[in-house]
Amino acid sequence: MTDTMTEVAVVAFAESPRVRRNDSTTNGVEMLVPIFRQLFDTTGLTKDDVGFWCSGSSDYLAGRAFSFVTAVDAIGAFPPTSESHVEMDGAWALYEAWVKLLMGEAEIALVYGFGKSSAGLLRRVLALQLDPYVQAPLWPDSVSIAALQARLGIEAGLWSEKEMAAIAIQRRGLPESVEDLLEQPFVADPLRKHDCAPITDGAAAIVLATGARARELCERPAWITGFEHRTDSQHFGLRDLTTAASATAAARAAIGGNVDVAELHAPFTHQEILLRNALGLGDAVRISPSGGALDGNPMFAAGLARIGWAAAEIHAGRAGRALGHATSGPALQQNLVCVMEGR
């Protein structure tokens, strides 16, 4: 252990267009090549400068085995390079890369997440992330599970359909009024279409760098000051679904002070309110200026993109401290918080 801890910063971020369906294969290569090029153009790096690569994606989403191995083609991994993968959102891959850099095993890491959500019936595919004995065999879909959570909060007086609609209007820039939206039919009572993130194909990528390298690559790096992830039980019955204890625990460990802006990975409108409460974010905190997951939710990339957009607020000088949040699993089961600051 050295006396001075290695510091790591997000120095660049790129995201592919958020579209309902693109022409990419499920291994993501076609989405990844352009955003890697964008990162290399921004930083002046080449693939040979990257000491560690890490990705987040899912074979269940792709419908093929080892899709992430095919995705490695996009990084040009010959001669062999140091590479890893998580079967989770790319935000968890970012965590792995951050640890790798803190350990001094690399100075620069490139982290990516990708998902062609449109390839299968997304809400059905996601049933396979549930307990495989007593839940998954019933094929409960992800939207219905979120709806069970939404009703619990509405009936407990923690949020309302009106507040949920107002969030949809804000994040997605909808032209309708709250009253208009509340006249729409339910998708899964009490959720309407505007309450649910759109199905999105896409990818996101982030470059992490240590100390002096970060300052060379970026005028105002987003230095990571807290990075924590926690998980709640997979048994719904054991959880209070009107909050997310894992999000609160991650935030307590990671935040350490106020933040100016928070990018929240809330695929459903009520989850934004839930997360603001669980993370302890006051009214002064700007929420998801990117539009958040409600404006585009590429599976396995949207959480990483939240951290990227939070970092972008620091890069642009619009925020001194920024929080990026990512979630995984049903009804906000797993939560990750990354806090960054500009200096």
Binding site: T26, D73, A77, G120, P132, A150, F186, G237
Partner: protein
Amino acid sequence: MALPLHAPLEISFDYTRSLGPTLSRFMTGLAQRRIIGSRDSTGRVHAPPIEYDPVTHVASTDFVEVSATGTVLTWTWMPRPIEGQPLTHPFAWALIRLDGADTPMLHAVDAGSASAMSTGMRVQVRWAAEPVGSIRDIACFEPLSTSETEPGGEVEPVTMVTTPIRLSYEHTASPEETRYLYGLAEGRVLAQRCPRCRKVYIPPRGACPTCGVPTTDEVELPDVGTVTTFCIVNVPFPGQRTKPPYVHAAVLLDGADIPFPHLILGCPADEVRMGMRVQAVWKPREEWGFTPQNIDHFRPTGDPDAAFESYASHL
């Protein structure tokens, strides 16, 4: 440039899982039309039972039977059920706290319409006609009525559960693969060259694995090549199209930098060797589609073997 080809892709697998002591007890109970829960260290009862105590992390050992009736804690309406769900007509999903339990379970409620659903409503299990020891033995829940189902008698302990999983996708080929598949449909073998390292890839790729850039320049290859390496398949498996023993080989087409996997037929399996020269045997033209299966197999040409040095770097 043709639009990327796409096609439906169905995958399925029967997941077979061992249950362990706690879930075995639960599933065996279901086979008898009984619901067994577990009591944790704080005295709370969970149904379905949990394997480990959430506070002490000790394995559950205190099991109690709970009622097949309960209360809806929250619900949503499924207007268009999707494949595999408990009911094929509109139904409610609900978290249901069974009488005698402290925490809820997830299941379906056959209520007829959303207007019949409410938080706090009382429901009861509707049992499957022939319970086997699976969560699906609970066919669904229904609004509470007076009729009761008697539990069944003793059954053999249930220790395994099989869950069939079937998923449907729309698989999309990359632009480069699309060119290649169109070529095959015309009886041509179209590869592409990486613009940076100049290597020729068959099939062409969205990114050269060395350089990370898409392959671009099209190269038409002959259907003649060299066996670089191979294996003899002796093991029968479901869906096998050729009777074992047969040879699955990596064929380096002349002019390519990556071998192409295919069958070698037309000689005894034990005569196939590294360096053997082979040529594609195409199916009749009327059977061609957008697939490498247009080539039925490769057969030996009878030409002298290629020198090891000519393919050594492609192994």
